[in-house]
Symmetry: C3
Subunit: 229 residues, 3 copies
């Protein structure tokens, strides 16, 4: 329609003479107007196409963003979970309870006494976690778990040696040597694993009328937390 009009414009321009100045001035502007409107029509079509394309891309981006947000949230949950588990593993790894002791009372025997007594190991070689009390000879479990304990003794012949390893009020392990005429000294020991609750006490009792050699690192009491449980 516009092209026909433009053609017509051309013909009209030819037809119109100098005797009609008003309408003659109008037509050239009209042609330009038509040209401009035509150009604008094309631009609008282009804008529509581009906007349609942008809207599609925007929709895609919003979808991808939604997917990413969901994945990110899942990742954060998994990360939180992993952090908890790492913390738990680190806490277990960090909980160390290890003690190594000896009677350490110089070149003499401890005992015999007329009653059973708790043997106090005064030399503390190691006491990680501070669960062994060198004043009382008592080990107190700081956490629930399975602990390894081992005792060794050296003793002279004149008296017997009788040691019992207690968990609270129960005897768990024992070692013994008889008094003898001829064998100048003897040795003994024992070891085992005990499942303790927090606060459980483990200690060594020297039976009445028995003795152990107290020097340096001969008569010992040691142990460690093997695993928390």
């Amino acid at each position: 329609m516009l092209w026909f009009l433009l053609l017509f414009c051309g013909l009209s321009l030819a037809e119109e003479g100098a005797n009609d100045p008003e309408t003659q001035s109008c037509f050239p502007d009209m042609c330009n107007l038509l040209k401009e409107v035509g150009a604008m029509s094309e631009k609008i079509k282009s804008l529509e196409t581009r906007l349609q394309d942008s809207e599609t891309r925007l929709q895609d981006s919003e979808t991808r963003l939604q997917v990413s947000e969901t994945k990110l949230q899942n990742s954060e949950t998994r990360l939180q979970n992993s952090e908890s588990q790492i913390l738990e593993l680190k806490n277990k790894e960090r909980t160390k309870v290890i003690f190594s002791t000896a009677v350490g009372e110089g070149k003499k025997h401890i005992g015999p006494f007329t009653t059973d007594t708790t043997l106090i190991y005064k030399t503390v070689i190691t006491n990680i976690g501070n669960a062994y009390n060198a004043a009382t000879g008592i080990f107190t479990a700081p956490v629930a778990g399975v602990y390894y304990f081992t005792i060794f003794f050296h003793a002279g012949k004149e008296h017997k040696t009788s040691l019992h390893l207690y968990k609270n009020s129960e005897v768990k392990l024992s070692t013994h040597d008889h008094a003898t005429e001829t064998d100048f000294a003897d040795n003994g020991g024992n070891a085992g694993y005990l499942h303790l609750q927090q606060g459980d006490q483990v200690y060594v009792r020297l039976s009445q009328n028995s003795h152990v050699w107290g020097n340096a690192g001969y008569t010992t009491f040691s142990g460690s937390l093997v695993t928390q449980m």
Copy 2:
């Protein structure tokens, strides 16, 4: 061009008289039309600028989104990897094998027998992981790893004591005491670390013609998994 036309419109309106009602009616509308087209042209320019800006921003967003998606994928891979390693660490931490036993047959000796026999430790103090069989006296490794074993005995004088710790059919550790006239009892023991495969058996053999004291917690057999490998 349009401004010139509008000016012309103004002049034309003046020039046109009531004697030309048709053309006189056309020009005011024409002027308005020109104004409107001019306004529309400005709007189109504005739309083009804004759309260009949006397209740039959209391009940037798509690039950022692509980067984020890649980073997120890498994070998920690293997270998966971390989760696997945590699981492996937890599994190792969870695998506990600890046993602590004593002969526990009351105030009597076990043996002497005329042949070698497996010493059965009937008192089970601890048996985490259930790898020790109190009916047979045999410890069977549930997983491959290095295990610690320790044995202690107490025995009277009349017979010797001879104990061997076996891994399958091989002697690994031994402890021995001779029969004696004078020393009423003796003690002995041993300990060591053995690398076992799953299913390997560890047990204590009481040599023929030897004996051990079976009471309570004097004669013991204990051990634990130190590390899986």
Copy 3:
């Protein structure tokens, strides 16, 4: 305005006759032009609305993208942190030092010698981490930590047995048996936990004039890293 113009167009078409071909041809085109401009005006309004909407959505997307980028960065930091901690835990788990040895020199005694000598345990049952040197009998700590050590001996009556477990130049644990007329053999041992620095040496010294039974797995020296610290 345009509708009025269109109406006018219709009236004009009626009024104009065949006697005015130029202006008659212009008005039908003008009407179409007005219609077209009207349609374009509507399209521009529609574009403006849609573009406004797109700009809002784009703004929202950019905000969401910013939030996601920040969250992702935080996740990456936490992930890095977790990975470090896992590596540290794995390294600790991976560092295994376990040795189990016996004198293993056949059916004979080692010693007595006229001076103190380091007892060399030639049978290596286990030596994970290769920290025990079977040529020298010396265990050297590869990492700082608390280590468990245990020794056992068997020995005949003719000479005493005196063993000392050393940490560098310090005696930490001892076990002893006197020579005797009547008791054909004796046993002894000890165990404990020592906190060592990297390079610290632990070994067993056979005191002068003492001996141990060297056969197979009777006289032993074992130990393991309990925990790094």
